[in-house]
């Protein structure tokens, strides 16, 4: 026993040492530009993120076909963060330090972004984050190509108010930071619009909540107060299928109580039969059904790349496309992949989006987007029933939260600050 202890102890040391040596960081070779892809390919988030990994591979392949960047080919480095956020931080560090990537495209959840954020800050690299999120953040090394609340939630609520004449609101969401913040913003916004506070019902459910009977019947009861009622849903991916099923089965028709969702896109709808859902709404900055030549081409190329006619496209994919193109432009402009150079050159650059407009990188590292409201069709697609006349600039700090109303983000000289207080004219927060 004892002897074995010694031996195995030595073994342990040998093991540790032996493995430690070979893993010495290799500096990026000069012949390729490495691009990190940081998405969950397993675990709970794989359902949404795997497609984004493929999208990046697709975009990189296209770019290489066009001759790469700065005359060099792009080399994707894929890692699986397995829906495990500390692992995400570890892998981000590994991508930058060991694999020497010049930019990383990745993350879906806020927690993923939050966990890798310090790494990018410390190692001064670039992260392009493609998903709509709660805002309240602007970081020098991160580019937010998804929608911030003012590019999705607010316009959607406006639509319901004006077009559908909604007076009574159910804010239903999964209990995590994006719905919490979005609902806080919406609640404030509605109150400002003169909605009585007892005409607002807020409800949170756990991740992957599958038994919606009680909540749906509560919604029906809430909706039976004689006022036009609508549900604003920030329910996260997996929980949506059972939610909509229950809606359909309990006979909540879009004509009576429309549901507008911020996290339900073509990808999620491909999961089930949408016939009972026809007429329910979603707010995005892109729909697969948008009828523009750019979009047509994008879909065609994507489907041929992935080798399936029935694979859909969705908003985060467009966000990745925009982010990628902006990065390429910025690198070309800066003539180098150096993070600081790119950060300086990328602000103000423009690239066409897939809905016929142009996406501009703003000083707060968010982009301009159109806002589209679509109604679910029985073929799992959306029919655009409303869209903003012009592009909406992404706002990092919501004007409807007391603490962040006076905050601005501007990463250009002279301010160069992610949380610039417009009242005290100082960088760094409100409570000074």
């Amino acid at each position: 026993m004892n002897f074995s202890r010694t031996k195995s102890a030595l073994l342990a040391a040998a093991l540790a040492g032996g493995i430690a040596l070979p893993i010495v960081p290799v500096l990026a070779q000069d012949d390729t530009i490495k691009v990190g892809i940081l998405h969950s390919l397993s675990g709970t988030m794989a359902i949404s993120e795997t497609t984004l990994k493929d999208t990046m591979l697709f975009l990189i392949e296209q770019q290489n076909a066009k001759g790469g960047v700065l005359g060099k080919q792009l080399e994707p480095v894929v890692v699986d963060i397995a829906s495990d956020w500390p692992l995400a931080a570890e892998l981000a560090r590994q991508l930058i330090e060991v694999d020497g990537v010049d930019a990383v495209f990745g993350c879906w959840t806020s927690v993923c972004r939050k966990s890798v954020l310090p790494v990018f800050e410390e190692l001064n690299s670039l992260l392009f984050y493609p998903v709509q999120y709660e805002g309240e953040e602007s970081q020098r090394n991160v580019f937010y190509t998804g929608a911030s609340p003012n590019q999705q939630a607010i316009p959607a609520v406006d639509y319901l108010m004006n077009e559908e004449g909604v007076e009574r609101w159910v804010l239903a969401g999964t209990d995590y930071v994006y719905p919490q913040t979005t609902n806080k913003i919406l609640e404030q916004y509605l109150l400002d619009k003169g909605v009585a506070s007892d005409d607002i019902m807020i409800n949170y459910t756990p991740f992957g909540h599958s038994d919606w009977q009680t909540i749906v019947s509560d919604i029906k009861t809430f909706g039976s107060a004689g006022k036009k009622t609508a549900v604003v849903s920030t329910i996260n991916g997996d929980a949506n299928v059972p939610f909509y099923r229950e809606l359909g089965n309990q006979g909540v028709m879009a004509e009576d109580i429309p549901v507008v969702a911020f996290s339900v896109g073509e990808e999620e709808l491909s999961g089930f039969d949408t016939t009972p859902l026809v007429g329910h709404l979603a707010a995005w900055n892109y729909f697969m059904s948008v009828d523009t030549p750019e979009n047509e081409a994008f879909i065609a190329d994507w489907q041929s790349f992935i080798g399936s006619e029935d694979r859909v496209t969705n908003d985060p994919m467009e966000a990745h496309m925009i982010g990628f193109n902006l990065w390429v432009k910025a690198v070309e402009a800066a003539g180098s992949t150096d993070a600081d150079a790119v950060i300086d050159s990328i602000v103000g650059l423009e690239t066409p989006n897939l809905t016929g407009g142009t996406a501009t990188m703003l000083p707060n590292h968010h982009i301009t987007k159109p806002v589209l409201i679509g109604e679910i069709q029985d073929d799992g697609q959306f029919f655009v029933v409303w869209e903003t006349e012009d592009l909406v600039p992404g706002d990092a700090w919501s004007d409807f939260l007391p603490e962040s109303a006076m905050l601005e983000a501007d990463w250009t000289a002279p301010i160069n600050c992610g949380n610039y207080n417009t009242e005290t004219q100082t960088c760094g927060g409100t409570a000074q």
């Binding site: 009977q213 997996d238 004509e255 429309p258």
Partner: protein
């Protein structure tokens, strides 16, 4: 005949907005329909109002098709056609049309508000239809958009109505109309209130509260009284509703757990891959339906029934494979079966993920499982209803197998005293394999049912594994009745906690309660007694 004209006249009046369409002539119906092709939503709305205004029954099919999203424009020929189940027909004549090759159909899309207009427009025209279902929906249309002008129309319809359900709804519609008509006499309006309460069902409260808002003071007490009554009965029913929710949640838990009650409860294998068996069952259903949808669309409604045996066999076979391949080496090491099966579950998940992709798959709900029925104020959704029934069937079948069949006898023999059983000439390895196969097969059946309420994704199983274990442990390992009672208890408790504590806290409370309960009764609700358990 006269009444018919009268009705048309009234209708035309009723739908005269905006006024410039007053002179709508039947003749330009085709033109208007043709115009739909290129119309945007606003134009479309006016065209619909317009067509409705003609009051010509001929436009009914067009509007119906438009509302149902079956109205198409053939880009090449510029014709508007109706895409029926079997054939493409002309919207007006209803004859089949052959667009020939090169036809390029694009749907004419509508939005919610337009759908509402169409519904109300159609209501007027289909109130006299021969099909009770159509009349029913028509009456609903009136219920939704009460308008005094329609009262004579309603009266006539009521006089002619034979179907009691439809009649009740029509009377409700009439009552609502009177109630909401400010010109009508107070007495009539007061008299109308009971009609609303009687006929409008769950909507009554909505309607009355609406009416209350702009009711004259002398009317208020009546309405308020009626409302109070409704609220009261609703309180009672909501309790019952909770019980029903609880039962249906419980039956889902039961389905998920009952397979485990075999593999874990009876065999003592801590089967962490149980959830994946459920998941595989769901995917089998998906595949079965895929085949059916492509090859025998006629059977689509029965695809679930067909999937049941298939899923049972597939997962059962996999179960036998697992038992032969892994479990049998681990008998007597229950805690190690946990580790092995956990690894197995990872592999199964990843396998499914790499075959079908990580995204959800679609299983269409058969018509007999979609929608809900109003069982005295209890909203009972069909899918839940059938799942409850199904859970009960599975449970009692299982009881039967275990208690009435030779296999069941042998299973109990082996689990109670392996050595004795084998010395009595029972082929224990065979029985083990069969038992595990049975457990897995039942998990597969659960998977089939779950396709109707949950995602079909590689993670499906994980959402149920912990709950399943809780149910089995709470009910008492090795006792099917324990699992049964346990599942229903947890389901109902959960549903009664949810309204007060909220979904998340409710679940937490349940878990804590289980933990405490196990302290009191370390062997669960129905603990096995005697020495048999010790082997």
């Amino acid at each position: 005949m006269l009444t018919h004209f009268l009705r048309l006249a009234l209708l035309t009046l009723s739908l005269l907005l905006p006024a410039q369409f007053a002179q709508a002539q039947p003749t330009d119906i085709p033109a208007r329909i043709a115009a739909m092709g290129e119309a945007n939503l606003r134009e479309l709305t006016s065209i619909v109002t317009d067509l409705a205004a003609t009051g010509d029954p001929a436009v009914v099919p067009v509007l119906t098709a438009l509302g149902g999203g079956n109205l198409y424009l053939d880009e090449t020929s510029g014709r508007i056609v109706i895409q029926g189940r079997s054939a493409i027909t002309d919207p007006l004549t209803g004859e089949e049309v052959d667009l020939g090759a090169g036809a390029d159909l694009s749907r004419i899309r509508v939005n919610n508000s337009l759908r509402r207009d169409i519904a109300s427009a159609l209501a007027g025209m289909t109130l006299m239809s021969d099909n009770p279902a159509t009349r029913f929906s028509a009456a609903q249309g009136f219920l939704a958009k009460p308008d005094p002008i329609n009262i004579p129309l309603l009266d006539e319809a009521i006089a002619a109505e034979t179907d009691s359900n439809v009649l009740r709804l029509m009377q409700a519609a009439r009552a609502v109309t009177i109630l909401s008509d400010s010109e009508a006499g107070i007495e009539d309006r007061r008299a109308a209130v009971p009609g609303v309460v009687a006929g409008a069902g769950r909507n009554a409260i909505t309607i009355l509260t609406g009416a209350l808002a702009n009711a004259p003071d002398e009317l208020r007490p009546t309405i308020e009284a009626a409302l109070a009554g409704l609220e009261q009965s609703r309180a009672v029913w909501s309790a019952l509703q909770n019980v029903w929710f609880g039962v249906s949640l419980g039956s889902v838990l039961l389905l998920a757990a009952i397979g485990l009650a075999i593999t874990f409860g009876v065999m003592g294998v801590i089967n962490m891959a149980h959830g994946e068996m459920v998941m595989l069952g769901a995917y089998t259903t998906f595949l079965v339906q895929l085949v059916i949808r492509q090859s025998f669309p006629g059977l689509l409604d029965y695809s679930l029934l067909i999937a049941l045996p298939v899923a049972f066999l597939v997962t059962g076979a996999i179960g036998v494979g697992i038992e032969r391949g892994i479990i049998r080496w681990l008998y007597g090491r229950p805690l190690e079966t946990l580790l092995a099966t956990w690894g197995l579950s990872l592999i199964l998940q990843q396998t499914v993920r790499s075959i079908f992709g990580p995204t959800n798959q679609m299983v269409i709900a058969p018509t007999w499982m979609s929608g809900s029925t109003d069982f005295f104020g209890l909203a009972i959704t069909y899918n839940r209803f059938w799942i409850v029934i199904f859970a009960l069937i599975v449970f009692f079948m299982l009881l039967l197998i275990l208690n009435r069949t030779p296999l069941g006898l042998q299973m109990r023999a082996v689990t109670q005293n392996r050595r004795m059983a084998s010395s009595m000439g029972i082929r224990t390895p065979f029985v083990d394999a069969m038992t595990f196969g049975l457990g897995s097969g039942i998990a597969g059946l659960a998977g089939v049912a779950l396709t109707q309420i949950d995602n079909i994704s590689p993670n499906l199983g994980q959402n149920y594994i912990i709950d399943s274990f809780m149910v089995v442990v709470f009910g008492g390992v090795g006792n099917l009745w324990g699992t049964f009672v346990g599942a229903l208890t947890l389901g109902i408790a959960n549903k009664f906690l949810e309204p007060y504590a909220g979904a998340v806290l409710g679940k937490i409370l349940i878990l804590v309660l289980i933990i405490l309960f196990i302290q009191r009764r370390p062997r669960g609700l129905f603990a096995l007694k005697g020495r048999a358990v010790e082997q």
